[in-house]
Amino acid sequence: MAREIKEKPGPLEYMRQWPLRVIVGATLLFLYLPLITLMVFSFNNSRRNIVWQGFTLDYYEKAFNNASLLQAFTNSLTIAFICTIVSVVLGALSAVMLWRFRFPGKVLVEGGMALPIVVPEICMGVAMLVFFARVMPWPQGLPWPLNLGAITIAHISFAFPFVATVVRARLASFNRELEEAAKDLGASEWRTFWDVLVPHMQPGLIAGALLAFTLSLDDFVITFFTAGPDTITFPVKVYSMLRFSVTPEVNAASTILIVVTVVLTAVGLHMQSQEPKEKKA
């Protein structure tokens, strides 16, 4: 009388219940199908790029030979790189300041720093346009990469509050006794900062850097308002290419951008997981 007993799924075994499988499947589909379509059609052998005509790498070759597209890509990476470094330094320092010190107007400073996060991007863009047109015009005709200054400054101003927020959250878990221990053992303020505080902030710094880099790399709105004719970034360039037609070249360029961000994110996350796990004291 051996009977196959079919086990019923337990109450928390969601993945064994079909409605949830459907939801998860649909979610993944809607998240990734557009991206996959974009990537697939970058290999499409058709100028109009509406119907699949056959596999080709021509448009990758075309994209790589498109000087202005490459220039835009280099511009974007350069801006993102500088923006990341400056944002991490500025963001980390402001996080430490807000965490460590009490001073009059601290609430105002904190709120003011969160502002670029909540203000609509279009307003930030217009504000930057006005700022660089009227208040502090960025000199025209500077050699590369100095001509990217205005865009870079604009990017830093909206990216560093994100870094500050992430680092601040990390600092909340800092054990002040570590700092005292370093001083007790003979370290100066400066050594204590580098030897104890910075290693503790490191995961926050990496996460913040990733945020700043990706925010800067794919920003369109603010860049659109601050870019000049000779300072085109990648998203702006893609947009201008779209106005003529959606060729697989645009798809190819976008695919490259996706791959670059995914790889960089993976590297960043990997670096973060290398960090020795800390016991909560």
Binding site: N175, E177, L178, E180, A181, A182, K183, D184, L185, G186, A187, S188, R191, D195, V196, P199, H200, E275, P276, K277, E278, K279, A281
Partner: protein
């Protein structure tokens, strides 16, 4: 102030490495945070080589005092001397003291050996010397061979040893310990207690420990200071603290005690009598008390100093051989029994309704006397046992 007679002052713990010079001196130290007074007019000298304990309930100011030595707090008033030198102007990283923190504060991103080497590196000691001293320090705390581990691969007790080695490797004049045993489990705590004592004897450095655990202080320290609400209440050896407390606070905080309020009825050179309303018999003492006749005093009786005897209905009170008939013996009824293995705690209700605690060691496996609930008993004590407190 105490009722200490010279004849029964117990010998201090043997501590041959304690020297005469005061390595730490607090002079009229007061610390205020706004209107809150954390430490009030503390004067204290700690001699070189002592294992000194600052004991008190939480918030009594003991940690503030310790942090003043380390340089993390500055006194509002008064001066702190380390080795005869006023340290007011010295920042923490320039002081000849090192601290073992309550959370151990072992740097989580550094190997054990790098943790221990950190202080030496800051001092600019050359690499070969650092390695030698780090190995030596790790051996001292029995962590030889653990140098390459990361702190998260260590147990709580091992991390504490790293913190100890890290502080001792700098050969400080004074080692400060902030609640060193509070984060360990009971078994490990007992072990670390004796290890701390032997470590201190081996290195000969002055140790100053902050603790709220009176058992810990009594067990480890050569001398203790009891603090209450920012004020130093008593500074004495552990035995003196326990047997000759100078106030109700100390008697109550250190160990367990039965306290009775009474009136000083007679105060002669060689004996004194206190009448406490809660006790059916007068308390006879075999020494004088320096108090005015008729003044309010408190009689403190440690539970283990109370004898318990069977009492048959209608029997006459037993007589203690060192007290006049009728004194130092009161009737009561056993109301509660707590069996603890090595001893048993009895709670006895007196005729006044007051409950009194007493211990009996379980000397044999079968208790011949077999005390049980609701049994009438006599409680008796020797004339030298109660401590009379004037405040």
């Amino acid at each position: 102030m105490t009722d200490a007679a010279p004849s029964n002052t117990p010998a201090a713990k043997p501590a041959p490495h304690v020297k005469e010079n005061a390595i730490i001196r607090f002079e009229n130290i007061t610390k205020r945070y706004g209107k809150v007074v954390a430490v009030e007019n503390v004067n204290l000298e700690i001699r070189e080589g002592e294992f000194f304990a600052l004991l008190g309930p939480s918030g009594c100011g003991k940690t503030t005092l310790l942090r003043m030595l380390a340089g993390f707090e500055t006194p509002t008033e008064g001066r702190v001397f380390i080795d005869g030198r006023d340290v007011a102007a010295l920042p923490p990283n320039k002081r000849p003291v090192n601290m073992v923190f309550q959370s151990y504060a072992v740097f989580p991103h550094m190997k054990v050996s790098d943790n221990v080497a950190y202080g030496l590196k800051m001092d600019g000691v050359e690499a070969g010397e650092i390695k030698r001293r780090v190995d030596e320090a790790l051996d001292l705390v029995k962590l030889g061979g653990f140098g390459d581990r990361m702190p998260d691969q260590l147990s709580g007790g091992q991390r504490q040893r790293v913190a100890l080695a890290r502080a001792l490797v700098k050969r400080p004049r004074v080692l400060l310990l902030d609640e060193p045993l509070s984060a360990l489990d009971a078994k490990l705590r007992d072990q670390m207690r004796s290890e701390l004592t032997s470590l201190q004897e081996k290195v000969g450095i002055t140790f100053i420990m902050v603790t709220h655990d009176q058992d810990e202080a009594l067990a480890i320290a050569t001398r203790c200071a009891v603090m209450n609400r920012g004020v130093l209440t008593q500074v004495a050896t552990p035995a003196d603290l326990y047997e000759f407390p100078n106030s109700r606070f100390v008697a109550d905080f250190v160990g367990s005690v039965n306290m009775f309020e009474g009136v000083l009825d007679k105060d002669e050179q060689d004996h004194a009598i206190v009448r406490a309303p809660e006790l059916a018999a007068p308390v006879y003492l075999d020494h004088g008390v320096t108090g005015a006749k008729g003044s309010t005093v408190w009689v403190a009786l440690r539970p283990e100093k109370i004898e318990m005897h069977k009492r048959a209905e209608g029997s006459v009170a037993m007589k203690m051989e060192d007290a006049p008939a009728g004194s130092n013996v009161v009737p009561g009824i056993i109301r509660d029994i707590v069996y603890l293995g090595s001893e048993t705690i009895f709670e006895i209700e007196l005729e006044s309704g007051r409950r009194v605690k007493t211990f009996r060691s379980n000397l044999t496996r079968y208790d011949q006397e077999d005390f049980t609930w609701d049994e009438p008993v006599w409680l008796a004590w020797h004339a030298c046992s109660p401590a009379v407190l004037l405040s």
